[in-house]
Symmetry: C2
Subunit: 476 residues, 2 copies
Amino acid sequence: AEVFQEISAADFFYRNRDIAGFTSPSRAVYSTIRELVENSLDACETMGVPPDIYLRLSHESGPVDGPGVYSVRVEDNGLGIPGKIIPSAFGQVLYGSKYKLRQTRGQFGLGGKMALLYGQVTTHSEAQIVSSTGPKDRVTEVILRIDIQQNKPIIMKNKTHPNKHHWRGTAIEFKTEADYSRAMSKILDYMKQTAIIVPYANITFVDPRGRLYRFLRGTTTVPEAPTETSPHPHGVDVETVQRLLKVTNAKTLQEFLRKHFQRIGDATARKFLQYASMGQRKTPRNMTPDDVVKLVNAMKNYEDFLAPDSSCLSPLGEDLLATGIKKELGITDDDIAQGHAYVGTLQRKPATYAGFPFIVEVGLASSKNIPTEGKILLFRFANKIPLLFDEASDVSWKVVNNTIDWRNYKVAPGETPLAVFVHLCSTKVPYKTVGKEFIADRPDVEHEIVNAIREAGRTLKLYLSKKEHLATERKR
Amino acid sequence: AEVFQEISAADFFYRNRDIAGFTSPSRAVYSTIRELVENSLDACETMGVPPDIYLRLSHESGPVDGPGVYSVRVEDNGLGIPGKIIPSAFGQVLYGSKYKLRQTRGQFGLGGKMALLYGQVTTHSEAQIVSSTGPKDRVTEVILRIDIQQNKPIIMKNKTHPNKHHWRGTAIEFKTEADYSRAMSKILDYMKQTAIIVPYANITFVDPRGRLYRFLRGTTTVPEAPTETSPHPHGVDVETVQRLLKVTNAKTLQEFLRKHFQRIGDATARKFLQYASMGQRKTPRNMTPDDVVKLVNAMKNYEDFLAPDSSCLSPLGEDLLATGIKKELGITDDDIAQGHAYVGTLQRKPATYAGFPFIVEVGLASSKNIPTEGKILLFRFANKIPLLFDEASDVSWKVVNNTIDWRNYKVAPGETPLAVFVHLCSTKVPYKTVGKEFIADRPDVEHEIVNAIREAGRTLKLYLSKKEHLATERKR
Ligand SMILES: Nc1ncnc2c1ncn2[C@@H]1O[C@H](COP(=O)(O)OP(=O)(O)OP(=O)(O)O)[C@@H](O)[C@H]1O
Ligand SMILES: Nc1ncnc2c1ncn2[C@@H]1O[C@H](COP(=O)(O)OP(=O)(O)OP(=O)(O)O)[C@@H](O)[C@H]1O
Ligand SMILES: [Mg+2]
Ligand SMILES: [Mg+2]
C-alpha cells in the first residue's frame, strides 16, 4: 500500500534546493551572495537611498581549495525589518513583502531563506539577523534556525538594544559550506555587473583571502523607486477576480472595476460592462461563479482597455546603461570619439505580456577589447539583477544567436568583436525557474527583445560601415 | 512601510504556474495531459499491471481554433486511491506518495493539483475523482475544488458506492481552458513516445475532433516495479541525519547506520565509525549537533562505502528500447538486415550523482527515414517519461551538440541522418524545473551520457564505415 505524506514548503525547497540554485558548494555560495545582495538592494531602492552594501566571506575551517566552512556577513543601509517580522522574514519559506505587483528583485519569498537553509543543512549553523527601521526604532537582534518540516523559525535569541548610532539597515551573518575558489570568478563578475546596472550603489566585498574589493558608485542619483500597481484586466483569471470580489467594499460592478484594476475609468467601465452584457442588477455581492467566468472572459477579450501602465517601472536609462557598458568593457569616450570603439544604447517603449508591463533596454558595443572567441558576448539583466548562469536557455541568447541576422548590421558573429547587453524590467519577470537565472521565451517578450536589438543594430551598422569604409580607404 | 504576507504552497504555484509548465492554454493542456497520464502510469507500474489508460479531451464551448473550454477525462486500471486520501491527493499541493527514494515519474507532489488548479482558475471547474483500490473496496466519488489560499480541498461531494464491477483504478474529470489545435502535435508526440518507452501500456486517446488514437502494447511483460531504497551515506546532510536520529529506535551508532542507510553492514559500520573517530560512548540518543556535523562530513568523505545500490531501478532494457526505436522511426528488421538502416542500443552500468543511483540507456539510429534538416534528431526520456520541451536547455542536447565529436563515428551532423535516444532513470531525476522538461547538467550525469553515446557510437561507426565502403565499391 502506498504511504501518503504532506510536506511543508520549506521541506519542498530543501529537497529540491538545486531548483533554487543551491546545487553544490560552489554554486550555492554564489546563490547565497546574490540572494542576500539582492535583498539589500531592494531594501535600499525602496527607500530611495543610494545603497551601501558590505559583504564579507571568511574561511572558517576545512580545505581552502575545495568545499570548506565559511562565514557570510552582509550589511546594508536599507529600510530595515520591523523586529516582530524578522523571525518570519528569515525563518518561514513563502513569506515576504514582495508578493505585490511591483518591480523588485525579489518575487518568490524564498531567496533569503534558501541561503540560511543551505548553511544550516551543511554546517548546522544558526543565523544572526540584526536590524533597525530607523533612529526612532530600537535595534533588534534575532538568532534563529529554520524548522524545515514545520516551515517556521526556531528562535534562539530575540532581543532589542538601544539604537545608539541612529542606525537604519540590516546585517545578517551565518556559516555555510562553500567552495570559494571555484565560485570566485562568478562572484566577482556578479559584483562588476551589479555595478553596471546599479551605478548608484557602493558595494564592498572582503573575500576569504582578505582581499578588499570596492565597487564605487558612479552617481548618487537614485532613480524613482518602482511603485506598486493594480492588476490589468488582461492579466486576470477567475481566482484573482474572486479574491477581489470577496474583499471589496465597492457597491457596484463599475466601482469594483475602477477601484481594483488599472486603466479603467468611469466611461471605460460602463462601455466594458455593456460589451460583457453584465446585467444592470449585478453587484459585487451577488456575482455567481458563472458570472465571474463570464466577466473574466470578457476582460481578457475586450480590446479597448488602455495598455498596462508602465510608469510604475524603473528602468536604468540609456545614458546610465552606456556609462556602465563603457566601464565594464574599458572603453573611454576618447576611444569612441576616435572611432576605435562603439557603444550604443536604447530603451524601448513599454510593452506587455499577459497583462504585465515591461521595458526592454539594450546596449551594443564593439571594440578591440571585446574577446570574440567565436561568439557574441552577451550580458543579461532583469530588474537590475545580473544573470550569469544558464545563458543558452535564456530568451536573449536565443534572440542573439538564432533570430537576429547579424549580417544585416555588418556583423560577422564571432569575428566582429561584439557585446550585447539586454535589461528587462517588469512587475513580474518571467523567470523559468525559482533560481532566477534565465528568462522564458514568452512570445511578447521575445518579440520585444528582437525589435530592440534590430533597432540598436541600425546605429551599430553605421559605425561598422564607416569603419569598413575607412579601412578600404587606407588600403588604397 | 512594507506590507508582509505569507502565502500557501498552492498560492505560490498558482502565481508561478508558468514555472510548472502551465503558461498558456496550449502549453497547459499538454502539461495537464502529461501530468495525469504519468500519474496513471505510476499507479499501474507500482502494482505491476500492464497499464490501460483511457484519455478523452472534448470541446465544450468557445472557439475550436484557439483557446476554448474543454473537458478532460482520464481513466486507469492502477492501484487506486483510498477514499479518505482522495481529497488531499487532489486538493492539497505538496501532498503525495512519491516523496520516497524510489524511481517514479512523480516526485514533487504537485502535478495532479496543477492540472486541476489550472482548470479551476480558467473555468471555475470543479474536479470529479472516482477511485477504488480493488474488489474488496467500495468505489469512492469525490467532487472538489482547491482552496488555493489555504491549500486545502473544498469538498463538494464525497460518497461511496458499491463496487459492482469489482473495479480497481482511478477516473478523473474536470474542465479547463485549452487550445487543442496548437497543442495537438505535441500531445500526439507525447503519446507516441510514451508508447516507445512504456511498450507494455495501452493508451486510448479520444481527441476533441472525435478521432480515436490507440497506442497498443507491444508486450504484456511488465518489468519489476521499482523499489524504495534507503539513502546512501554520500547523499546525506545534517538535516537528513538529524531527522533519522529523532525517529530511530537504534541503540548504537552502528545499528543506526546499518538500519537507515544502504550499503552499510556490520564491518563497514565499525570501520567507518573508527575513521570518523566517533567515540565509543556516542549513541543516537546523545549525539550533539556538532557530532552530527562531524558524522555527516565523515560520511561524505569516506571512500570505502560501496556504490549506491541500483537494483531498485527499473530501466527499459536494450531490446525493448531497440523495438521502440524501430517502431517510432518506421525501421523494419528487414531494412536493418539489408543494411539500409541501423539501430543500436546500450544500457550503461549503474552510476551515481550526489548519492543517488541512476542508469543511462541510449539508442542511436540511422536511416533515410530520419529527417536531417541540419541537425541530429534527439529523443529524451527520464523515468520513462518523454521530455518534449526546452530541448536546448537539456544536458543531453549539450552532449549531443557540443561535446560529442561525431566525425569520430563517421557522422556529419546534419547531413548523416541520425536519431539519438537518451533515457535516464533514477530515484531522483535532476530536473531543472518543477515542469519536468529538461535535465540539469550535473557533472556525473553529463559524463555518463557522454560515455554512453561514445560507446554506442563505436558500433554506429562500423555500420557507417561499411555503408561508405559499399558505396565506394559501387562507384567503381
Ligand atoms: N536586507 C534586507 N533588508 C530589508 N528587508 C529584507 C532584507 N532581506 C530580506 N528582507 C525582507 O525579507 C523578505 C523575505 O526575503 P526573501 O529573500 O526570502 O524573499 P523575497 O526577497 O521576498 O523574494 P525572493 O525569493 O525572490 O528573493 C523580503 O521580502 C523582505 O521584506
Ligand atoms: N491515477 C492515479 N492513481 C493512483 N494514485 C494517484 C493517481 N493520481 C494521483 N495519485 C496519487 O496522488 C498523489 C499526488 O499526485 P500529484 O501528481 O499531485 O503528485 P506526484 O505524482 O506525487 O508528484 P508530481 O508533482 O511530480 O507529479 C500521487 O503521489 C499519488 O499517490
Ligand atoms: Mg530575496
Ligand atoms: Mg504526479
